[in-house]
Symmetry: C2
Subunit: 363 residues, 2 copies
């Protein structure tokens, strides 16, 4: 078969699989939440923490970020087994000053650590005007949007970044060096959901590739390189030691490198040169009161005017609307809360296996 | 002529013009600096400030950012004439707290204001650990790298952003809304130049397009839209009311929007909805001591290891090396300091006209 023909077939097959999703049974989010919670408890997590992590993961799915959802459960279970995640470990303040603090996560779940980071940052920012709170010894914290939203829902501006294990090439490189190193910024609004930018500095999040492994689907050109550093559309090539590309070419690489330095070197968590274990995050969070320089009302009105001005832009051909960061997630949440969450057979099998191992009713 | 033929001709012509540059006379940076200084003094700037602004602009050219160089002189002169730039205006602290401050630039040159912003931020960060310093009533501040480098050369970490007048579409939009809204981050190193990321959130800086106007050169596809929102490669289409695209598609748009909110709404400078005059910047600068959470030595070693690990990545086909952010600028500076700076005839004519008007010896 010619290469062009293979490519056409792959495109057709991918779109066929995507269409299939729409007629496949969807699982209600409550059911997935309860299952995740029980599985985590069975794997050794304290009840309250299991509920917290389950909520976080299912919220990843609800907001459309299946890469940060229940797909992480098998990895978390494995990490608990080998002692990388230490359920119940005490999360503690390691350094404390009026406008900054350092949290030692002691290898508890990343979600528990990151929630505490944001709690401390909100408290400090409320009294000092702004606060920088970082964390080390922190496992995979999941979707940063969750924590920044907490701040924005309290009327504060939040910026958060984490570095993560190598999966992305530096611009021009053929091998993994940097993590997907996401940047998240949340802006409070009056009577509207916060504006929420939550983006990997890689072309997509790791999970967006990993979730396709074994499904027969192809990924778009320009996402990954194979283990030899050549462009590939096979998601399996990423797991075999390939690498992802940064978003926005050399600028995305530059941002990703800065996230590694700020979250790795600055926090003492370790940069890409020495991230010791799978799935760890160095955490950097900055929270600011929006009324440091103008009144809170003036800030909120100004944000509103900016938002409206941007949303009212005439459209480019081929686009049907302009969205604010965070709106795609809100829409996914509305739809998935109502309709349920699609779980691919490949993942469902893994979850059922874990359920069987721990004697938990499968989803 | 067929479209393909026109395109081929344009490509050839652009490359011909670029080759021409290499055999055209280069002007020594000192000569340009002295000329800029004299012109600014003749236009009404105090001697010390004229020297400061001239140094900044020529440093833009030296580092390879001709978009932030002496090409700005005609605009600055015009802005002085119409009262947008107010040379000699008092730059003052409008709000002051241990970890943050607000500067009222009173419409002095942006370079004078931004230098003061960084001065205050460095002082405050040195005593409080970190400092957020913003500015309003600030004209075009030029190359942010200059100010962040000052902090990094004092051993501090700096992050700086400015919002700027509309020239970039939101993702999916056909008209200008956001500015080029750059983000700059500088990281100090031991015995090496700081790592310096200094990037517009647009696909390129404004000046990179404007500098091509009238030269007959084309710009790459994917940079701009014409006034009807259609892709164009004619730099003139941008000046006629076209718009630039964000870098990295929707992610670059998201970052650009956040810069507008942080530098416009948060500082009270005004966001894209109400930037009142040409060439103004809302300024946001965060400076941190690198030893808040680990020792200064540990931080510097860690940055070194990250840098080396990234630079040692095997190369992708088609690349000859991997660079750290800031290295292209260092190389340009080394070369241009030695060889001089290329000034296109179109710009040279403008500078000569200004020189004649103010009775200054042309460069």
């Amino acid at each position: 078969m010619s290469k062009a023909l293979i490519r056409r077939f792959n495109t057709f097959y991918s779109s066929f699989l995507q269409q299939l999703e729409s007629i496949m049974p969807l699982i209600p989010s409550d059911k997935l939440r309860l299952f995740s919670e029980r599985l985590l408890v069975a794997a050794g997590a304290p009840a309250e923490d299991a509920k917290h992590v389950a909520d976080s993961l299912v919220m990843g799915n609800l907001t459309g970020h299946d890469s940060h959802g229940i797909n992480m459960l098998p990895a978390y279970i494995k990490r608990i087994k080998i002692g990388v995640i230490k359920p119940g470990a005490k999360v503690e303040l390691a350094r404390d000053a009026p406008a900054y603090a350092m949290i030692n996560g002691n290898w508890n779940f990343g979600q528990i650590v990151a929630t505490y980071v944001m709690e401390v940052a909100i408290k400090k920012a409320s009294s000092s005007g702004l606060a920088l709170v970082c964390a080390f010894n922190c496992n995979h914290a999941g979707r940063l949007g969750e924590y920044c939203l907490t701040a924005a829902n309290s009327g504060l501006i939040a910026m958060m970044m984490v570095n993560s294990p190598p999966s992305v090439v530096p611009w021009g490189g053929a091998q993994r060096r940097l993590g997907t190193n996401p940047i998240c910024i949340a802006i409070p609004r009056k009577g509207e959901k916060p504006i929420l930018l939550d983006m990997a500095t890689s072309i997509v999040a790791n999970g967006k590739v990993s979730l396709k492994v074994g499904t027969g689907e192809r990924i778009p050109e320009g996402w990954i390189l194979d283990p030899n550093g050549k462009p590939s559309t096979k998601p399996e090539d990423f797991d075999r030691g390939g690498a992802m590309l940064p978003f926005g070419t050399y600028k995305g690489y530059g941002l990703g490198l800065m996230v590694d330095i700020l979250c790795g070197a600055f926090t003492g968590s370790g940069g890409c040169n020495r991230i010791p274990k799978d799935g760890i995050n160095g955490v950097f969070a900055l929270v600011m009161k929006p009324d440091l320089f103008v009144s809170g009302d003036e800030f909120l009105s100004s944000v509103d005017e900016i938002a409206r001005h941007v949303l009212n832009t005439p459209l480019q051909k081929g686009f049907s609307e302009i969205l604010l960061p965070g709106q795609p997630e809100e829409r996914a949440m509305e739809k998935r809360s109502r309709e349920g969450i699609f779980v691919h057979d490949v993942l469902l099998t893994k979850l059922k296996n874990a359920a069987a191992e721990y004697g938990v009713t499968p989803p």
